[in-house]
């Protein structure tokens, strides 16, 4: 029972951990892109 | 594989071997560090009362030392092209890129085999094992194992030519791929060193495995060398 829980638990943790890391990076990139777009628009106007 | 392709291949191989023949730098440094690696294993594997010995240990140490110091040979053979940017001249020459790969492969393998002969004797002495029982088979296994290692090594060494972390990365990238070669070669060698083994069937099996692996790795190397070495 313990082995099953450990195995499934590790897999869930690993997958969610990866999803979290990817999501965080994507959010950061989008933030940087928005910032750059604002600066470009400010310069153009 | 036309006649001119082979001509270029041997020209490049002889060029490297001739440079090496003048300075003998790789041979001496590689030979010395290989011998030291064998010594280190010899001490590390000894237990409290006995020295490490036996055919399996001898074979394993031989191939481990070969692999570790083989990266030295790889790095040096390709490093020469980095100094003076001679890799560019080589690429601009009419030599086909696959011939450059094959030439480097032959040169590296020959250098490694020269050191391996010394290592075999050393290993036989230190681990109290008869190593020259089946000379023909041993030569074949040494050749095939070395070719398998060099086939992959030349590709990665060339790709890392301009990289800063060359030394650190070469081993890290190369070893997972050549472990099957190491496995097959050391199993075959262990059987060859073992006076008590009933027949040479394992040797035949692992030699065939090595041959197949070498063919695949060399074909892949020939295919992949050009786009990798031309660079971004």
């Amino acid at each position: 029972m313990k082995m099953v829980a450990l195995a499934y638990g590790f897999i869930w943790l690993a997958v969610f951990g990866y999803v979290f890391l990817v999501g965080r990076r994507l959010g950061k990139l989008n933030g940087e892109m928005d910032e750059l777009r604002r600066r470009i628009d400010r310069l153009k106007s | 594989m036309t006649a001119s392709w082979w001509r270029y291949t041997f020209l490049i191989a002889f060029k490297d071997l001739r440079i090496e023949g003048r300075s003998r730098e790789v041979l001496y440094t590689m030979g010395f560090s290989a011998a030291l690696v064998v010594l280190v294993f010899s001490f590390a594997l000894a237990n409290a009362t006995d020295a490490a010995q036996g055919p399996v240990t001898a074979a394993g140490v031989l191939w481990a030392a070969t692999l570790f110091t083989g990266t030295v040979a790889l790095a040096r053979v390709l490093d020469r092209e980095r100094e003076n940017e001679s890799i560019r001249s080589l690429l601009l020459s009419p030599a086909p890129r696959s011939a450059i790969y094959a030439g480097k492969l032959i040169a590296t393998s020959l250098l490694m085999i020269a050191v391996e002969v010394l290592l075999t004797i050393l290993v036989g002495v230190l681990f109290s094992t008869g190593v020259f029982n089946h000379l023909g088979w041993l030569a074949l296994v040494l050749l095939l194992g070395t070719l398998g290692f060099s086939a992959t090594g030349v590709v990665f060494s060339a790709a890392l030519l301009r990289s800063r972390s060359r030394e650190a990365l070469l081993g890290a990238l190369l070893f997972p791929i050549v472990i099957p070669v190491l496995l097959a070669a050391s199993r075959a060698t262990a059987c060859l060193f073992d006076p008590l083994s009933p027949d040479l069937e394992p040797v035949s099996f692992w030699t065939r495995f090595l041959f197949a692996t070498d063919v695949i790795y060399i074909l892949l190397g020939l295919w992949v060398f050009e786009p990798v070495v031309i660079g971004e």
């Binding site: 029972m1 897999i11 994507l26 | 790709a159 890392l160 650190a168 786009p227 971004e232």
Partner: protein, 234 residues
């Protein structure tokens, strides 16, 4: 000119729908796993199989996709191929980790040891190490990192047949490839559902990871645009 709203794949309805489908599939699969009959000899521990085998399948799929992308990049100059290769390699490392952790946990219960140096385990470990080396090469490989890694991926791809057929050529303690077809009805359904759920999860993760790489490329374009706009101003 109004600021463009960021078209992130994370917010897009298609992506959210895919996530919902994945979640649903896993709910169904886990239900099926819980309902599946217990294996006679190994009992509850055998249920690790329902996650372990799909992860192994995904390890091999990731390697194949990585190799395919690498060929497209190396010989076709395809930037997209390169992005796919990197994303697939990362997923291969992730699911490879899952295989190499769940396997020994099951092994300890079933065989009494965590690890054995036999053909399938060894070649799976090597495959995982090669994908890890790919990710390392991308990061620290210097100017020709992408080409170096692409070559590595091709050599790693050779390991795939070795992993799958190794059980056939070497007498092994590891269950053979025919286990799946001999599964009982309750187990078979749970297994295939789990495999489906994991494959869908893999596709969604690949799409997300690709979105990050595309966003990275767009960011570089925007920086260039900003430099141009600043130059025009001065």
């Amino acid at each position: 000119m109004p600021a463009q709203t960021s078209q992130t794949s994370h917010g897009s309805p298609r992506f959210l729908a895919a996530c919902a489908v994945t979640f649903l599939l896993f709910v169904i699969a886990c239900n099926a796993i819980a309902d599946a009959p217990r294996e006679i000899t190994m009992g509850l521990v055998q249920k690790i199989f329902y996650f372990h085998v799909p992860c192994a399948w995904l390890l091999m799929l990731s390697t194949l996709v990585c190799a395919g992308g690498s060929v497209a990049y190396l010989f076709g100059g395809s930037e997209r191929g390169d992005r796919v290769a990197l994303s697939a390699a990362e997923l291969g490392v992730l699911f490879g980790m899952c295989v190499l952790v769940s396997g020994p946990l099951w092994a300890k219960a079933a065989w009494g040891v965590y690890w054995q140096w036999e053909a399938r385990l060894t070649s799976s470990l090597l495959l995982w190490l090669m994908l890890l080396a790919y990710v390392l090469a991308r990061r620290y490989g210097g100017p020709s990192a992408r080409r170096l890694a692409a070559a590595l991926a091709l050599f790693a791809a050779i390991d795939i047949p070795l992993v799958y057929f190794s059980v056939r050529f070497f007498r092994s303690i590891h269950p053979s490839n025919t286990v799946v077809s001999t599964l009982g009805p309750g187990m078979r359904g749970a297994f295939w559902l789990s495999l489906l759920a994991f494959t869908v999860l893999w596709s969604v993760l690949l799409a997300a990871r690709l979105a990050v790489e595309s966003a990275q490329a767009r960011l570089v374009d925007l920086e260039i645009l900003l430099d141009q706009a600043e130059e025009k101003k001065t």
